[in-house]
Each structure stands twice: as structure tokens, then as C-alpha cells.
């Protein structure tokens, strides 16, 4: 595989994780337009730990995930007070705040960026991406995920059937943040150079796009969406200077034609719940 395609392949893995981070939070009915902020936290924390402290990458990634997860939980509480588009705007603001925070952080390079990370191969990236995808796919078949779906569909009634919606929603933020952080750490160590501009609004929107296009009700959808977003512009090379416009047109078309995204939870319903009969 040529290095160019190898790099694209890695990008899909990283975008997949970012998409999953949005997916997890979206599953509870919360739209987050700021997950690039969690990605940034993961990237910078992981890079700091490997470059300046010398920790092994796996440990650094896990610690970065914990840090971001904690931030996610902290964000999750005020997020409870906001609904729909207002929450989306607040998360957008959060993402921008994180970006400008790192822009200001001279000890990690500020605007000049940070480097010194050891390079990891696309295979390593996919080791993480694949594992987390598998984990989430398994989780989708659990009671916890059903509770998240219930909160998504009708938060009030979810309370009436005994679900602690606060814990569910806040945990989703934490979990999503952790996954985004791993995406960030992997990004940092694959591209071996990071700067705050990598983690702006466009990145957050890319995550959301991947989820919505690929299918916002199943984790596998994130994979389809990520692959689409990375490889589609490649196949649109034919359009030369109008490549991006073609992508925009395609995006509008897909949304018009298949609203729920390409894949759909209902498709997998029967296989999800193969009960073991006594």
C-alpha cells in the first residue's frame, strides 16, 4: 500500500473515532458540535506525556482519555440545562474555547504547534479504532444502550420508567470525550505535528457529518461515514477545481434522498437481540 493511501487509511481510523465520539453523545439526544475540543485535549495531553514525560503511548492515550473524560463529565452537567440547538451552540463555543486555550498555551507551542511525537503506523491507529468500534458495537446491544435510546426518544418518560437521565446523559458526554481524546492522541502520533488549527470547528463538523451520512443510529454507520468523507473527495478528483463543490452537492443530495443516513438500526434489529432462550 502506498504511503499516500496508508495515510488516508489512518485518517479514516481517526475520523471514525471522532465520529463515534459524536455518536455516543448523540445517542442520548445531545448534539455536540465541539468534540474537536476533546480531541485537542487528547492530542495535547498524550503528546505531553510521551514527549515530555516519556510515558509509553498506550498509557499516554489512556490517561489522555481519562482527562478528557473528566472534562466531558464537567461539561455534561451544564449541558443538561440546554436543549437541541442551544446545546449545539454551547458545545460549539466550548470547542472554540479549547482551541483558543491551546493557541495561548506557549508551553505546548501555542500557535506554532507542537512536535516531537514518535510516529505510529496506520495499523496501530486501526488497532485502537477497530477495538473501540468493536467495544461500542457490543455496547449497543446492552441494557445501558437501550437506556440511552430511551433518553434520546423521550427524556421525560425515560425518567418515569426508572432511568436516571442525569447519569446517563453526563456519562455519555464523558465517554464520548474519552473516545475523541484517543482520536486526538492517535492523530498527534500519526501526523507527529499538531497545532490548534487542527482542532477547529471544521473538525467537529466532520465528525458530525460522518455520523449523519453513515447512519446516526448504529455505530457501524460511523465507519461508513468516515470512509465516505475521506475517500469521496479522492474519487471526486475528476472534478478538479470543483471537487469540493461536488462534495457539497453530494452532501445535499444524500440528505435529501436518505435522511437517516446510509445505515439504520432497524436493519440490524434482529441480530442485535438474539436472546438465549432457557
Amino acid at each position: 500500500m502506498s504511503t499516500y493511501y496508508a495515510a488516508l487509511f489512518a485518517d479514516v481510523g481517526i475520523l471514525l473515532l471522532g465520529a463515534i465520539s459524536v455518536y455516543i453523545i448523540l445517542a442520548t439526544g445531545q448534539l455536540s458540535l465541539g468534540n474537536a475540543g476533546f480531541m485537542a485535549i487528547g492530542a495535547y495531553v498524550a503528546s505531553y506525556l510521551t514527549v515530555k514525560i516519556g510515558l509509553p503511548l498506550m498509557v499516554a492515550l489512556l490517561l489522555a482519555a481519562v482527562v478528557a473524560g473528566a472534562v466531558g463529565v464537567v461539561i455534561g452537567f451544564p449541558a443538561l440545562r440546554l436543549k437541541g440547538i442551544y446545546l449545539a451552540m454551547a458545545t460549539l463555543g466550548f470547542g472554540e474555547m479549547v482551541r483558543s486555550f491551546f493557541l495561548n498555551l506557549e508551553s505546548m507551542g501555542g500557535a506554532g504547534g507542537f512536535h516531537g511525537m514518535a510516529h505510529v503506523s496506520p495499523v496501530y491507529v486501526w488497532g485502537w479504532a477497530g477495538s473501540i468500534l468493536l467495544l461500542v458495537t457490543l455496547l449497543e446491544r446492552s441494557r445501558v444502550w437501550l437506556e440511552m435510546c430511551a433518553v434520546h426518544d423521550d427524556e421525560t418518560v425515560a425518567g418515569f420508567i426508572g432511568l436516571n437521565t442525569t447519569v446517563i446523559k453526563v456519562s455519555a458526554f464523558g465517554f464520548g470525550a474519552a473516545v475523541a481524546a484517543i482520536a486526538g492522541g492517535l492523530f498527534a502520533h500519526h501526523h507527529i505535528y499538531i497545532e490548534p488549527g487542527n482542532f477547529g470547528f471544521e473538525r467537529s463538523i466532520d465528525f458530525v457529518l460522518a455520523v449523519i451520512l453513515g447512519g446516526s443510529t448504529v455505530a457501524i454507520g460511523a465507519l461508513v461515514g468516515a470512509a465516505l468523507l475521506v475517500f469521496l473527495p479522492e474519487t471526486l478528483r475528476f472534478f478538479a477545481d470543483w471537487r469540493l463543490a461536488a462534495f457539497g452537492v453530494l452532501l445535499v443530495l444524500v440528505l435529501l434522498v436518505r435522511r437517516q443516513g446510509l445505515l439504520d438500526r432497524a436493519m440490524f434489529m434482529r441480530s442485535i437481540f438474539k436472546a438465549r432462550r432457557a
Binding site: 441494557r143 434520546h152 432511568l163 436516571n164
Partner: protein
């Protein structure tokens, strides 16, 4: 039917609920004994659903107390009240639109604290839950629509699913908000039979209903609300003749 030795399952003591200047409930008291089927009737806007909302914790009572199994629940959040064993249905059906019937019956089951059972795939980790869901499906004749997504179901089936969801929680007290609204006589008879069976199995039921025939034929005891006040109570045979009750319903379409 009444168990004189057991304390009442549910007691409302002088419950009030204000919304700004509006008194939705004003000093309502009622008692539900274990194993009873108690009805709450009254004209539209009398505050019946508000009463349910106060009992289930959706609204915080402005005054008074709600006592369930001897413990005051008036300050508890809805999910804690649900876990104590109170389940409800809604006047306007509120299912989880994107979830299948089967998923409804799994998610509404009694809460389990065992982390592994909640995080691992349901089929492997909690066969008991699956069995229970199967039973409720069978009880309500919903096996055919097990995999159907709630929003695609016809109205009557949705009502059944809502009932199934409430039952799957294994409640001690079931609150039903207009369970036979829009049903014909046969369907209502089915519901009546079901509720009687459930009572035989130890379930206590509190229901709101407009259909007088249904209520008269089923309930052990009735409370009548009008303008947020409890204006009368008693066995159906007595209540139906009370002048105050007839007054309240005057002009009401039935």
C-alpha cells in the same frame, strides 16, 4: 378485596399543586389499598392527569404529602419513584418512537445495579430479563410485532405496548391514564379482563377514565375531581347518584 390488616399502598394527603396563580389541585386526599382498583373521574380539566404527575414526581406538589408504602415520596425525583414500584401510562401515548417493542420491554424492566448485566449484550447477560419480556409479550398478544419500531405501529397496538412497558417493570402500583379511550366495547372488555387478571396477581391499579360504563363495572372505589378538588368519593354504585357528581358532569359530553 380490601386488606384491612395491610396499610394503604398509596395515600395522598391534602395534595395541592399551583402553577403561578392557577390552582390545578387543591387539597386532594385519597387512599388506595393494596389489591384495589381505584378510579379517578371528573370532567376535563379537573386535574386528574396533574394528580398522576404529582404522584409520579413530574411535578413537585405545592402542598400536602404523597405516601407510598408508608414512606413519603413527595420530594423524590421521577426515576426514584418509578424504582419504588410505580408505573404509568399516558393519555397521549408516549412510546419511545425509534425503539422496537422488544426494546421497550427490556429497557423498562426493574433496575439492576449489577454493572456487567447492564453493559454486556442483553441476550447473554440477562436471560431472565428476556424471559420476562417474552412473558409480557405473550400476555398482551404482541409477539407478532416484537421487532416493529414503535412509531410504525397502529394506535391500538401502541396502547398495548404502553401497557406492556408499564407491566414489564413489575410494579406494585399501576397508574393508567384513560386506558380505554377511543376503544370499542369489545376492546374495552378485553382491557377489563386483563386488569382483573392483573389484580388477581397482586397488582394495585389507579386509573383515570371518562368511560363511565367501564369505570362502574371495574372499580372498587371512585374519587371524583372537579376544578382540582376532590368533591366526592365512594363505591361506584353510590357515587353515580350523588348530585354533586351529576352537577359536575352536566354539560359534559360523554
Amino acid at each position: 378485596m380490601k386488606g384491612p390488616s395491610a396499610s394503604p399502598l398509596l395515600r395522598l394527603i391534602n395534595v395541592s399543586k399551583h402553577f403561578g396563580g392557577i390552582k390545578a389541585l387543591d387539597g386532594v386526599s385519597c387512599t388506595v389499598e393494596r389489591g384495589q382498583i381505584v378510579g379517578i373521574i371528573g370532567p376535563n380539566g379537573a386535574g386528574k392527569t396533574t394528580l398522576f404527575n404529582v404522584i409520579t414526581g413530574a411535578y413537585r406538589a405545592s402542598g400536602g404529602d404523597v405516601v407510598f408504602e408508608g414512606e413519603s415520596i413527595v420530594r423524590l425525583p421521577p426515576h426514584k419513584i418509578a424504582r419504588l414500584g410505580i408505573a404509568r401510562t399516558f393519555q397521549n401515548i408516549r412510546l419511545f418512537a425509534g425503539m422496537s417493542v422488544w426494546e421497550h420491554l427490556l429497557v423498562a424492566q426493574p433496575h439492576t445495579e449489577v454493572a456487567l448485566r447492564r453493559l454486556l449484550p442483553v441476550g447473554w447477560a440477562d436471560p431472565a430479563a428476556c424471559r420476562r419480556a417474552d412473558e409480557v409479550l405473550a400476555l398482551l398478544g404482541l409477539e407478532d410485532v416484537r421487532w416493529r419500531i414503535a412509531r410504525t405501529l397502529p394506535y391500538g397496538t401502541q396502547r398495548k405496548v404502553e401497557m406492556a412497558r408499564a407491566l414489564t417493570a413489575n410494579p406494585k402500583l399501576l397508574l393508567l391514564d384513560e386506558p380505554v379511550a377511543g376503544m370499542n366495547t369489545d376492546e374495552a372488555a378485553d382491557v377489563r379482563a386483563l386488569l382483573l387478571r392483573l389484580r388477581e396477581n397482586g397488582l394495585t391499579i389507579l386509573l383515570i377514565e371518562h368511560d363511565m360504563t367501564f369505570v362502574m363495572n371495574l372499580c372498587d372505589y371512585l374519587y371524583v375531581l372537579d376544578f382540582g378538588e376532590a368533591i366526592a368519593d365512594g363505591p361506584p354504585a353510590v357515587v353515580r347518584h350523588m348530585p354533586r357528581v351529576l352537577d359536575a358532569y352536566l354539560g359534559e359530553e360523554d
